[in-house]
Amino acid sequence: MTTTAKKSLNPLSPKERIKVPRQLMPEQDACERAHTFTEVNLGYSAELAQQEALRCLECAKPTCTDNCPVGIDVKEFVQRIVIGDFLGAAAKIREANVLPAVTGRVCPQEDQCEGKCLLSKKVKPLGIGYLERFVADYEQRMGTQVVPKVEPTGKKVAIVGSGPSGLTVAGDLIQKGHKVRVFEALHEIGGVLVYGIPEFRLPKQIVREQIDYMRAMGVEFETDVVVGRTVTIDELIEEEGYDAVFIGTGAGLPQFMNIPGEHLNGVYSANEFLTRINLMKAYKFPAYDEPMLDLHGKDVAVIGGGNTALDAIRSALRLGARKAYVIYRRSDAEMPARAEEVHHAQQEGIDFQMLTAPVEFLSDGKGWLTAARCVRMELGEPDASGRRRPVPKEGSEFDLPLSVAVIAIGTSANPIVQSTTPGLDTNKRGYIQASEETQRTTRKGVFAGGDIVTGSATVILAMGAGRRAATSIHEYLTTGVW
């Protein structure tokens, strides 16, 4: 639905809008929050949200929507905020995005909608992420989410994995009248949203509420099912009668650096470190049974420069670490983490050791980590990723004393589904081959999207793949054409 013909509801002229400053996100004080898992960003008030919404220039050709992986009608939802119709704004977002309270918090808006905002040519871009978060939270507080009623189609879809892509497919298809069942390997629904992203960035209660809403829409969930082991894709289709299957199993196996000492006690993968904290609530030990190493007064480092690395090290700080380092082999400019997260981490006192890489983990002789032997790097010629390749500086070795090191250098494909599904082709890195437009795999009726197709990416890119898959699945189910 286009809104270009409508008269603007914004009382300000474009010149006046540019003069309104971008409204700051209220934050918990950096010193206080560095010791607790409560959320860093506190969210806009209705007043702040309406003030910010006034800044939208209501472009005739909104580049924000073009740059949103799920295609949210930003201009329309922002206009509804201007007139105080917050629930209307939420409903508008929900047409394109089933997890607005999540994406409003974790999307890299600066690279997407806000990155292309016309305002940013002169002033700061519109706070689209903050506004999305505001209306999603408002809707949640009001408890008035409308559950759409749809005519059942009689078709059944199985979704493998309950992370961002799977939930998006489920949310879109249930609204088309298909029966949807989501299979999850872990005991909790949400995938990376519950095991990976920490409470201070994405409160688990928010995730639970979004999932409760999907339950209310009729989505069925089954936990403790490792597809490929507990049941295969073929069995889901042939024996359980699913008409289509979507595979969204996520990032997979953590990578290690293959340097000496990686097996020492105290060396974690980021996945394990974060899973212990987020999913298993090890930080509440002994009230929760899953243990983790006591970080109080300890020196901790994370190796890597992505969002996962920052999530891990900021968690370590909150668990009492004395020194908390980020060790990254390139410079600030190449860091893949979101600018806001880097800024937050700096405020909290994280020590960034840029252009540095560990070459060995040292032990006390009894199997426990005592230090990382590191080298300083300098940037050489660009590599395959287009980023300048880090090269070790001769004679720059030094030992950084550490009790815990967390390796956050990426993941490789988990082979369980691929290896148990005949005819499902993978690329040479082991990820599932799927069409970029339709997310169709090489197996009829089987679709895939998210990190299991692309390798590690972001929540919103996985959701974008989920949207495309849902459209394509619906088309397949209604036409029968593969």
Partner: protein
């Protein structure tokens, strides 16, 4: 929720549970395991599958009480439920007709060795089983092992039953007697698997061991269960749990399994204290029972 259809002690501290888990029962193969979580605040632990009945939709697990979770698990009875059971996990044992196979089960490891022995027997192997335990009471599944083996040898550390000694003594005897052994499968305590592997390495007998590192998800996602195989990291949950015993770095396994010893002890002490408090509570005010876990 996964219902316990039947619970029964096999030995002091070792209990067998028959659990309603139809999906797992259909798929379980020898050598695989499940991960379970008893209640909301509980940890996830890997547990041996001893057997399954696809018709009835049940699996049997055998649990030895060691820490808090296993002690709590062993206090569950017929009719109780377990919050989460996921599996079957890990690669199944490689079953083929090797010729003569010696299956070694140490302590509660016998429960995992049993289905493998049975499958090897069905595949046409001559199966010689060696079952070891600390004492007579802790020898488990003897009749089951006899049912699937051509010969069964039993050792107890203290000599209270069968022959005094270790499983390696029996294995050495077999080798010395000139028995042609094509494969050894050993499941049990790390020290036992290490001793068996050292013995068979000298004799150049292919040996498979089943490793039991600390795990969380069991699907390869966390990497916590990494073990050193031939100098390289592998994940026991997806690459194992069975590995070539001659390539396993057992020292690293022992060291990594000790990672949370302090926490585990603390957890156990707190648990014991709360249990004692529970008992005191029940003795004085029965109406308080509902407030206790």
């Amino acid at each position: 929720m996964f219902k316990i259809i039947h619970a029964q002690f096999l030995a002091p501290g070792i209990k067998r549970f028959v659990i309603e888990a139809p999906r797992i029962a259909r798929k379980q193969k020898p050598g695989q395991f499940v991960i379970l979580r008893i209640y909301e605040e509980g940890e996830r632990i890997p547990v041996t599958i001893e057997n399954s009945d696809p018709e009835k939709g049940t699996i049997n697990i055998v649990v030895q009480a060691a820490g808090k979770t296993t002690t709590l698990l062993n206090s569950l009875e017929t009719g109780d439920s377990i919050l989460d059971v996921v599996g079957p996990l890990g690669k199944p044992s490689e079953i083929a007709n090797y010729g003569t196979v010696v299956v070694v089960g140490g302590g509660v490891g016998t429960a995992m060795a049993y289905p493998t022995a049975a499958a090897l027997k069905r595949a046409g192997n001559r199966v010689i089983s060696i079952v070891g335990a600390r004492n007579k009471e802790l020898v488990i599944l003897e009749p089951e092992m006899r049912g699937v083996s051509d010969a069964v040898m039993i050792t107890t550390d203290d000599g209270s039953y069968a022959d005094k000694g270790f499983v390696t003594d029996k294995l050495r005897q077999l080798i010395q007697n000139g028995t042609r052994i094509d494969l050894v499968v050993a499941v049990g305590p790390i020290v036992m698997m290490k001793a068996v592997s050292e013995l068979t390495r000298r004799e150049n007998i292919h040996t498979v061991v089943s490793l039991n590192p600390i795990m969380i998800d069991g699907t390869g996602m966390c990497g916590g269960c990494r073990v050193m195989i031939d100098g390289k990291s592998e994940f026991a949950c997806v690459d194992g749990p069975e590995f070539d015993g001659h390539k396993v770095n057992f020292e690293v396994l022992v060291q990594r399994n000790a990672m949370y010893r302090t926490a585990e002890q603390l957890s156990m002490e707190e648990f014991k204290r709360s249990r004692e408090a529970d008992h005191a509570c029940q003795a004085t005010s029965p109406e308080m029972q509902g407030a206790q876990r």
